[in-house]
């Protein structure tokens, strides 16, 4: 019964790895030689670049981190929840997918980066999976308490 939940967990963790991978790639592809640190103080960084494409890459990488850091943490927790605790993590995973989709749509509206499309496609698959009947049956299953099992009772009766 919990095989589906574990599979979901593994897929969520794969999504985490892919997102972190894209983030690392975004930072790695910046030409750091074109970026100059203007700050003389040891603990402060003040960057400047004259190359427009480097600046664009840099802004994109920073935005990617801002938009996706929170959802990736949620995904990680949800993935671990599904793998280790079987039924926990559905809400975290769903919220994470919603945030990822919203961020991707913002990105899409602004600069249409290539990575928005695979992330959207993967998120759609995960949303379908999270809302599939078999997954719902596992994660939304709960034992009825006597109070739940009773029909609605008039107040004070």
């Amino acid at each position: 019964m919990y095989r589906q939940a574990r599979l979901l967990g593994v897929l969520l963790l794969l999504q985490v790895i892919a997102m972190v991978g894209i983030g690392v790639w975004l930072f790695a592809s910046i030409d750091w030689d074109a970026v100059v640190n203007l700050s003389n103080e040891p603990n402060k960084v003040r960057l400047q670049t004259t190359d427009k494409s480097t600046l664009k890459q840099f802004v994109q990488a920073i935005l990617f981190t801002i938009y996706f850091f929170g959802p990736v943490v949620l995904l990680l927790l949800a993935g671990l929840g599904f793998v280790l605790l079987r039924r926990r993590g559905w809400m975290l995973a769903s919220v994470a997918q919603a945030l990822i989709m919203l961020a991707c749509l913002f990105f899409y509206g602004a600069s249409r980066p290539w990575f928005a499309y695979p992330i959207i496609a993967y998120s759609i698959l995960m949303i379908l999976l999270l809302n599939s009947r078999s997954v719902r049956a596992v994660v939304h299953r709960r034992r009825l308490t006597p109070a739940d099992a009773r029909p609605e009772i008039a107040r004070g009766e």
């Binding site: 769903s94 919220v95 919603a98 949303i127 009947r133 008039a154």
Partner: protein
């Protein structure tokens, strides 16, 4: 009232007193059932003609029930109405209030006259309903409504009556209709202060409510209570009534117990808080869109259909109000805090009942009519005769129900009728079957003969027609056989004392909201109260300061509000699912727009691979 018989006054009073209801009020109620005569004596009488100012026909202190029956100054389109005295003209202002407050300390049986609202009604519904509620409240400024001073006038007037003598009276009328003896308890209240007192939908001067008890009479003349019907707002039909032996119907001896809601005086079977919805039909185009969207969501996408989806014949827009029928206040009836005074009998029907067709309080010209006073027991506001008066049995959906004394007789009659019809069907069937066989033989004889082909075609057509008729007759016969068998079983059951489930006739029972729903945090209530204002202010701020990012900020703000709302209403899971599905649809469109052919090729490949996989699996078995 062709099939209605009246009952003599003595019998009527005895029956009314024997089954008179016990009524439990909500703490904080200001008005209790009273005799209408002192009310009428204290009122002035007005006539409003179309396009003219209302005219006072009888001033305060000169009106009486007899004079009311004459309905003077009647012309086409005229509206007759009563008006309670202005409190400022009254020297006794506030005495009753002080007295009741004093009694609440000295007499523990007397309820404390403070109303405590439960979980705010707005916390129980969503944004749209809250917005509609705000618009409804704003509309009150433009619509006709009962002035605030009138509520106080009503309280002062009622207080004055109670100071003279504490009386709790109902108006009783007994009629016989379709084998039923109907005991009609009409309850008159001096004022409906639902809006002013408990944040309800309306206020109006005077209020007529009712409780009906339906009796059957055995051959020996014994009466037996079988059903009761309590009126609540404008509801009619099967859902109104409860069977006497229904375990959910509370009774004390032979007295049914009713819970009257604070202010509105709607009468309920259970104690509790009821979400009453004021419904407005949506424009046809909007309702069609809403219906399609709901079908797509619940049926096509199968999203929570089991829990939420109900196909409605027409879509409505509703504004919620709470009816508080807590039953924690004064109890009136036999053996209760207060006993009923002798009823004002309406057998024979007095002249003021049939003679006065006007309103029993202020006519505000409210287009929704909620703020207009009601007409009397016999009439609707438009002066037509009310159904509960001319057809009390049909009003509660009892016109299709037999009394217990009649049940077996009705079944026997029906069985005889069916048996007669079956005999006719059998003989018709026999005749047509023989004819069909003969035609079949003719057609067989003429088959494959070129010179008889036209005759053969004609015979074939006849055979088809006759065959259909025979099939239909057999179906009718079969239905009648099943029906006769069911009636026989039902009759046997009834003879053995079996009864159908007491609540089988109820489709949509009015039930109080569950206790869990009435509990809500103060933050949730606060949010419900301020949310519409916050949404509007946020919208203005976004338009003023974030015009360059209008769409993005708006989407974010709407999502945030929806998230907060879903959290307070314990619908977070459903909200997230809805949001995700919507985002997935938008996301799919985005991907499709960019990689249209790629997606098509991938989809075809996926389908092909799936078919291949399925076929190979079948081969491998």
């Amino acid at each position: 009232m062709a099939n209605e018989e009246s009952v003599d006054a003595g019998t009527a009073e005895a029956l009314l007193r024997r089954f008179e209801p016990v009524i439990r009020f909500t703490k904080g109620e200001w008005f209790y059932p009273m005799d209408c005569e002192p009310y009428v004596d204290a009122c002035s009488f007005w006539v409003s003609r179309p396009g003219e100012d209302a005219v006072c026909v009888v001033p305060y202190g000169e009106l009486s029930l007899e004079r009311l029956a004459q309905q003077p100054e009647d012309t086409t389109g005229a509206v007759h109405y009563l008006k309670i005295p202005n409190p400022k003209e009254d020297g006794d202002r506030g005495r009753w209030t002080r007295r009741r407050a004093k009694r609440s300390h000295t007499n523990p049986d007397w309820p404390k006259e403070t109303f405590q609202a439960g979980r705010g009604r707005l916390a129980r519904v969503g944004y749209l309903s809250r917005l509609a509620d705000a618009l409804f409240s704003l509309a009150l400024l433009a619509r006709g409504r009962v002035p605030g001073g009138d509520v106080e006038g009503g309280r002062v007037l009622y207080g004055r009556f109670m100071e003279k003598k504490e009386r709790f009276t109902y108006h009783g009328n007994v009629v016989k209709q379709d084998g039923w003896i109907v005991l009609r308890y009409w309850l008159f209240y001096a004022f409906n202060d639902w809006r002013s007192n408990v944040f309800g939908a309306n206020d109006h001067e005077a209020d007529w409510e009712k409780i009906f008890v339906y009796l059957s009479e055995s051959e020996s003349g014994e009466v037996r209570p079988e059903w009761v019907a309590y009126a609540a707002h404008e509801e009619t039909g099967d859902d109104l009534r409860r069977r006497w032996d229904d375990s959910e119907l509370e009774k004390i001896g032979e007295h049914p117990v009713a819970y009257v809601c604070a202010g509105s005086h709607a009468t309920r079977y259970f104690r509790g808080e009821y979400l009453t919805e004021l419904a407005f039909p949506l424009p046809r185009a909007l309702s069609a869109i809403r219906r399609i969207a709901r079908r797509f969501w619940y049926v096509t996408l199968r999203q929570y259909a089991d829990e939420d989806y109900r196909e409605k014949p027409y879509e409505q827009f509703t504004i919620p109000f709470v009816d508080y029928g807590r039953g924690d206040g004064l109890s009136v009836g036999p053996g209760q805090d207060m006993e009923w005074d002798p009823p004002r009998l309406m057998n024979p029907v007095p002249s003021w009942i049939w003679g006065y067709r006007g309103l029993w309080g202020l006519y505000t010209r409210d287009p929704f009519e909620g703020e207009d006073a009601p007409a009397g027991p016999m009439y609707n506001r438009d002066k037509t005769i009310s159904r509960e008066w001319f057809d009390p049995v049909g009003w509660a959906g009892l016109d299709k129900v037999s009394t217990r004394a009649e049940e077996l007789e009705v079944i026997n009659g029906r069985q005889a009728e069916i048996e007669e019809r079956r005999d006719l069907l059998r003989s018709e069937l026999q005749e047509k079957s023989s004819r069909l066989k003969a035609l079949g033989m003719d057609a067989e004889a003429t088959r494959d003969q070129s010179h008889l082909s036209k005759l053969h075609e004609k015979q074939t057509r006849h055979i088809e027609e006759l065959s259909r008729e025979v099939e239909s007759l057999r179906a009718q016969l079969s239905d009648d056989e099943v029906l006769a068998e069911s009636l026989k079983d039902h009759a046997e059951g009834l003879r053995e004392g079996e009864r159908p489930p007491a609540s089988a006739h109820i489709m949509h029972a009015a039930r109080p909201v569950s206790e869990a729903e009435t509990r809500a945090g103060k933050v949730a209530q606060l949010w419900a109260s301020i949310s519409i204002a916050v949404v509007l202010v946020t919208l203005i701020l976004i338009i003023a300061y974030q015009r360059q990012h209008l769409l993005g900020v708006l989407v974010f703000a709407i999502a945030m509000f929806a998230f907060i709302e879903a959290g307070f209403r314990r619908r977070l899971t459903r909200f997230i699912v809805s949001l995700n599905v919507a985002l997935a649809i938008v996301g799919a469109l985005v991907v499709l727009e960019h990689y249209f052919w790629g997606v098509i090729i991938l989809a075809v490949l996926a389908v092909g691979l799936y078919i291949l996989w399925e076929n190979l699996r079948e081969l491998g078995r």
